[in-house]
Amino acid sequence: MRRSSAALATGAALALVLASCAPSADDGGDDSTDDTSATAELPEIDCAAYDEFGDLDGTSVSVYTSIVEPEQKTQEDSYQPFEDCTGVTVEYEGSREFEAQLLVRLKAGSAPDIAYLPQPGLLKTIVTDTDAAVAAPDAVAANVDTYFSESWKGYGSVDGTFYAAPLGANMKSFVWYSPTMFADAGYEVPTTWDDMIALSDQIVADGSMPWCAGIGSGDATGWPATDWVEDVVLRSAGPEVYDQWYTHEIPFNDPQIVEALDDVADILKNPDYVNAGLGGVDSIATTEWDSAGAPILDGNCWMHRAANFYQTQWPAGTDVSEDGDVFAFYLPAMTEGEKPILGGGEFVTAFSDRPEVQAFQTYLSSADWANVKAVTTPDGGWVSANNGLDTDNLATEFDKLSAEILADPESVIRFDASDLMPGEVGTGTFWSEMVKFFSEDKSSQEVADAIEASWPQS
C-alpha cells in the first residue's frame, strides 16, 4: 500500500509539472482586447469592401509575428473595426523567436494563416524552399497599386508573383541629437555629409565626443552596423550600385563597397569621435543598440544614428520634439540636392487562401487600416509608406516628419539591403563580420572579403 501511494504522489507531482507547462502555450492575449472600446475614437471604415469575401461571421484568422508587447496592443487594437465589420476573430501571436520558429512551423505543417515578415529575404527563402506561401488576392494587389509606390510592391514579390503587401514602414536615415544642446552650443544641423564631419570635428575641438554607437542586440548583434553601411553605400555609391550590391551583380568586396566601409570607419572607428560614455571603439560591439543613444541625455555625446523607431527607446518623460530634449535630423547626403533614404518594414504574407484570410489581408493593405493604426498608436513610433495615410492621424511630430520624408517625391527610398540579401549573408556573416569590424578591428577589405566568401553559390 505504501508503495502504490508513493507512486501516485510521484505521478501527481509529474502531472503538476506537465500541466503547468501546458496552458501557457496559448496565452494569445485575449485579456487586452476588452479595453479597446475605451481608446480614442476610431476613424469610420467602409465595411462594403469586405462583402466580396462572403459571410465571414464566426471565422478566425491566426497571425504570427515578431511584433510583441508593447507594440502588440496597438496592433490588436487596430483590428477592431475589421472584426466589427466582418465578425472575424483575429488571433494574434507575437514571438521574439519569430524568424527561427516560423520556418520550423512551416516545415511541421502548422503554418499560421498570416505572418508579418520583417525581411523580404525571408519571404524569398520561404517561397523558394517551401510552397507554403500563397499569392496575394487581387483586392490586395489593387490596394497596393493604389496606395504604395512601385518599389514597395517589388519587395513583396518573388519571381514576378506578388505575395506580400507592406504593413508598417521604418525610416532609418536619421541621426538623433539634442536640439537644446545644439542651441546652447550654437551648432547647426548639418545638411551635407561634409558638414556633418565638420560639425564632428568642431565638437571634438570643443572638448567633447560627437558620436555614440552600439550594435549589441542579443543574437542579432551587428544589425545596427549594417544599417550604417547601407546608408553610406546609398550616399557614396548611389542607388544603382546599391541595387547591384544586394542582388550580387557586383561582389560584396567591390571597391565602392569597401570605400563605404571606410567612410563608416572614419566616423565609428575614430577614437576621437566615439564612444562617449560607453568606452572605446571596441565597446561599440558590446553596447546594446537600444541604450546606446542614452548618453545624449547626459551630454556625453551629441549624435546617434538610429531609425525612427528609436523614438520609443527614450526614457519616459523625454521631450521628443524639434526644440526639446531629443529629436532627429535626416542623415545628410553627400550633396544637398539628393535625398536617399534607407527604409525597412514588415510584409503581410499569407499561408492560406480562405476568404476570411484574404479579407484580412485586404484590410491590412488599405488606407483604412493605416489610419486606424495611426489612431490606435497614441504614443507614436509607427509610420507606414501607405500614401492614403493622413499624417494628421499620427501621434507625434516626429512620426509626421518620418511620414513626410517617406512620402516626399524627392526621396529615393531603398530597402534595408541586409534584409534583401540571402539569409546566410543578410542575417549571418554581414552581422558577424560587422561585429568583428569593431571587436577585432578587422579592416574594411578583410570584412568585405569574408562576407563575399560566404555568399551562397547558387
Binding site: 501516485l8 502531472a15 496552458p23
Partner: protein, 329 residues
C-alpha cells in the same frame, strides 16, 4: 465544454490544469492497479505494461529524430540534394567552425576538471566542521539557477563602462577593479579570455553538484579504514592523497563525466551572454544558429551529429563507472 480545448480565462486554465492532473493520476492508477491485479502476472505483461509506453515514446521522440538528423546531415541546406560528407568536411576545416570546436574542447576540459577539483576541495574542507550545512548550502545554491538566469546575472557582473567623469560603473567586477585602481576591462570582448569568463559561469553552477556527490562519497568511506590509516600515521594531505581520493575514485569519475556531458551541450550561457559573438561560440550554439537562424538544415544536423558522437564515449564510460560504484555498495 469548449473551454477544455480553448481555455481563455485564468479560472478556466486553472480548472483545466486540475483536470489534467486528475486525468494523469487516474491513468497512472489504472495502469498500476491493472498490472498488480492478477495474482501471478506473466513477466511479459508486467514488462510490457511498464516498459511499452516508454519504449514507444523513446522511439518516437528520440530514436526517430536521431536517425532523421543523421540522415539530414548528408544533405544540403534545404535537404534536397545529397552531398555526402561535405557538411562534416566544412565543420572540421573552416576557420570559423574550427574556432567553435576549439572552444567546445576548452569548455569540456576546463569545466569538469575545475568544478570537480573545487567541489572536492570544498567537500573535504567543510567535512565535519561546525558550519558544514550552511557552507554546503551556499555552494549548492547556484545549482538552483537556470543557465539563462546565471548568464544574465554574470553578464551584469562583467558589465563594462569606461572609467571617466560622470560614468557610473554598473558591473561588479569592473567596480572592484576601479576601486583597486585598475582600468575597467571588456571581459566578454577580449579573445580568448572571454571564453574563460564564460566557463567560469558554468563552473560556478556545477561546483555545487560536484561537492554534493563527493561529500556523500567521502562520508561513505568506512570509519575503520580512516582509523587504521590514522594509526599508521597518515594525516592531512597524506590522508587525502592515499585514503580519500582512492576511496571515492568511482564517484569522482561519475562527477567528471556527468559534468562533461552537460558541458558538451552548453548553449544557454553562451547564447545569453555573447550570442556566440567575439569568438565564443560553441558547437551547440552554432548548431542552433545554423539550423534555425541561417536555415542551413544540413550543416546544423552535421554539427548535432558531431556533438552526439562526442557524447557517446562519455556516456558509456559514465554508465560503466556508475555500475562499479553501485557494485561496491
Amino acid at each position: 465544454m469548449d473551454w477544455l480545448l480553448h481555455a481563455n480565462t485564468t479560472t478556466e486554465k486553472l480548472v483545466l490544469m486540475v483536470v489534467a492532473i486528475l486525468l494523469f493520476v487516474v491513468v497512472m492508477g489504472v495502469v498500476l492497479f491493472a498490472v498488480d491485479r492478477p495474482k501471478n502476472p506473466p513477466k511479459g505483461l508486467v514488462i510490457g505494461a511498464f516498459l511499452g509506453p516508454s519504449v514507444l515514446l523513446l522511439a518516437f521522440g528520440l530514436v526517430y529524430p536521431g536517425l532523421r538528423t543523421i540522415y539530414t546531415s548528408f544533405f544540403d541546406r534545404t535537404g534536397s540534394e545529397y552531398i555526402g560528407f561535405d557538411n562534416y568536411v566544412r565543420a572540421f576545416t573552416q576557420d570559423s567552425f574550427q574556432l567553435v570546436l576549439r572552444n567546445t574542447a576548452l569548455w569540456v576540459v576546463c569545466v569538469p576538471l575545475v568544478a570537480t577539483f573545487l567541489g572536492l576541495l570544498y567537500a573535504v574542507l567543510v567535512d565535519r566542521t561546525r558550519f558544514e550545512k550552511i557552507a554546503k548550502g551556499l555552494i549548492f545554491l547556484p545549482m538552483a539557477i537556470s543557465m539563462v538566469g546565471a548568464g544574465i546575472i554574470w553578464k551584469f557582473v562583467y558589465e563594462f563602462k569606461p572609467n571617466q567623469q560622470g560614468i557610473q560603473q554598473t558591473g561588479l567586477l569592473n567596480q572592484l577593479l576601479v576601486w583597486v585602481g585598475f582600468e575597467p576591462q571588456q571581459f566578454l570582448l577580449t579573445q580568448p579570455m572571454n571564453t574563460f569568463f564564460l566557463i567560469a559561469v558554468m563552473i560556478w553552477i556545477q561546483t555545487g553538484f560536484a561537492m554534493t556527490i563527493l561529500s556523500a562519497a567521502i562520508k561513505a568511506i568506512p570509519d575503520d579504514i580512516v582509523e587504521a590509516a590514522q594509526l599508521d600515521g597518515l594525516r592531512g594531505v597524506g590522508m587525502f592523497r592515499y585514503i580519500t581520493v582512492p576511496s571515492i575514485r568511482p564517484a569522482l569519475v561519475v562527477v567528471v563525466t556527468t559534468i562533461a556531458m552537460g558541458t558538451l551541450k552548453v548553449f544557454d550561457i553562451v547564447r545569453t551572454m555573447t550570442g556566440g559573438n567575439f569568438g565564443t561560440s560553441v558547437v551547440a550554439n552554432e548548431f542552433y544558429t545554423q539550423s534555425f537562424r541561417q536555415n542551413n538544415a544540413g550543416l546544423g544536423a552535421a554539427l548535432a551529429v558531431i556533438l552526439f558522437v562526442f557524447v557517446i564515449p562519455l556516456v558509456v564510460y559514465n554508465i560503466r563507472q556508475l555500475r562499479i560504484t553501485e557494485e561496491i555498495r
